[in-house]
Amino acid sequence: MTSPPGVDGLLRELAPQALGVLARRYGQFDACEDAVQEALLAAAVQWPEGGVPENPRAWLITVASRRLTDEYRGDSARRRREAAVAALLAPEAANAPSPDEELATDEDDTLTLLFLCCHPSLSPASQVALTLRAVGGLTTTQIARAFLVPEATMAQRISRAKASIKSSGARFTLPPEDERAARLGVVLHVLYLVFNEGYTASSGPDLQRTDLTTEAIRIARDLHRLLPDDGEVAGLLALMLLTDARRPARSRADGSLVPLADQDRALWDQAAIREGVALVSETLARAPIGPYQVQAAIAAVHDEAAMAEQTDWPQIVVLYELLTSISPNPMVTLNQAVAVAMVRGPRAGLAVLEPLDADERLTEHHRLHAVRAHLLEMAGDREAARASFRVAARLTSSAPEQRYLEGRAAQLSDDVRVGSAAPAP
């Protein structure tokens, strides 16, 4: 969209509200979603030129409702005529909901929408796409660009997702109480996927994708407002804020990665860190513990260190032990090994890695070799470290990571050569 950020932001905020009203009135989630998307596109064209209507939400609902009725009638000539009329209409049109209807249901609507878009019958890729369109108010073009896929592919994912929801018989209501926790887990995972897709993007031509990070934080913030007592919702929001706070420092202008220890901490977003730290501290004190909260706590410990040397590694080791006990995962073990090495030395860290060698899937994963290489280098075994960095560089399919890992390997070769030429100390 080329409209100014003001209109764009307003539309994204209003998108789930308008869709909620329509879906509740008319059912037919898939048709309503299309109608709202058309209304959003019309607004994105008309508002920047003609000004934002006095009641923009009612405008969207009116235009979308008309699209929907026209869709039923299949009368395209009428549709064109009415679209033109709708644009001229006063914002407080006949179809606008009563103020009571608005207030009572907006919040439930966003929640219901999130649950519906993250319906378990959909693939994760479809859940992500539909959430960004229906809840985030992004266009198919924007989503396709962010995920670097052709627009037709993304359009197909969205229409398939809507067809799956239709055939699953899911309705526009909150899931039953006994399914709520599991379904919320899926919603959080989808938001986490959206965040990571944006966060891992390097700078330069991928700038578009960092929009996903902002979008994931915005939706998580909404969700936290709706479910303030849920510790994992707060934990995920805190984790996103504390991770995203480091974004300005994590890559250079040319897209190359800067490891945590080498980042210019003056570039970190202190406001985001304060907000994240406050959230996670408050949540840990009262809510049942969960993996997002622990990961947020680990991120907070890193972010609170003004210099890498001041990092409270013993605290991080304790938190990783806690995380492993509540949510065992080999990727967590990798990070735990690094923390252990910082406290008890590289050999102790390498010992943590040993059981992972039995995991065939992990031995093909570059991160195991990258962490081992790093610990071997710490232990002074340069030759083995270099070999492991090379293996890791071959295995990764991330260009910036490959460049970083090759750089570490090359540096070790240079050092070895320099070392052998220099007289013994």
Binding site: S123, S202, A399, P400
Partner: protein, 118 residues
């Protein structure tokens, strides 16, 4: 994860294949492409023309030198390139498998511009 599915084929096998069998195999290709389009996993699909149409170009002292035809003695030549975006390498293998009866199919991850801080 994005992958390319590289289909290597021996042109002689295709030239001597009975028409009915060729139709059957093409039917498998077409069904698969339709399925991948509908699932939102297909990024693009390209078939390559006969290997005899290949031009090989090399820069020699700054001058492009062009020769006809592919190099190498391999009987199997690249015949098709598909790009897919799917959940896992297992799924990518599942996608490539049905067309791997006469042909050899390679699955290669595409490099991504994203990266995690280390």
């Amino acid at each position: 994860m994005k992958y390319v599915v590289l289909i290597y084929s021996n042109p002689a096998t295709w030239e001597t294949m009975p028409a009915a069998e060729r139709d059957r195999v093409m039917g498998i290709h077409n069904r698969l492409i339709k399925e991948l389009t509908e699932s939102g996993e297909l990024l693009r699909v390209d078939g390559l023309s006969h290997p005899s149409n290949t031009k090989t170009v090399r820069l020699r002292d700054g001058v492009p030198v062009v020769t006809d035809g592919p190099f190498g003695e391999a009987k199997e030549q690249l015949a098709g390139v598909w790009a897919v975006d799917c959940e896992s390498v297992e799924r990518a293998i599942e996608i490539g498998a049905p067309v791997a009866d006469y042909d050899t199919v390679e699955i290669r991850p595409l490099m991504d511009l994203s990266g995690l801080e280390m």
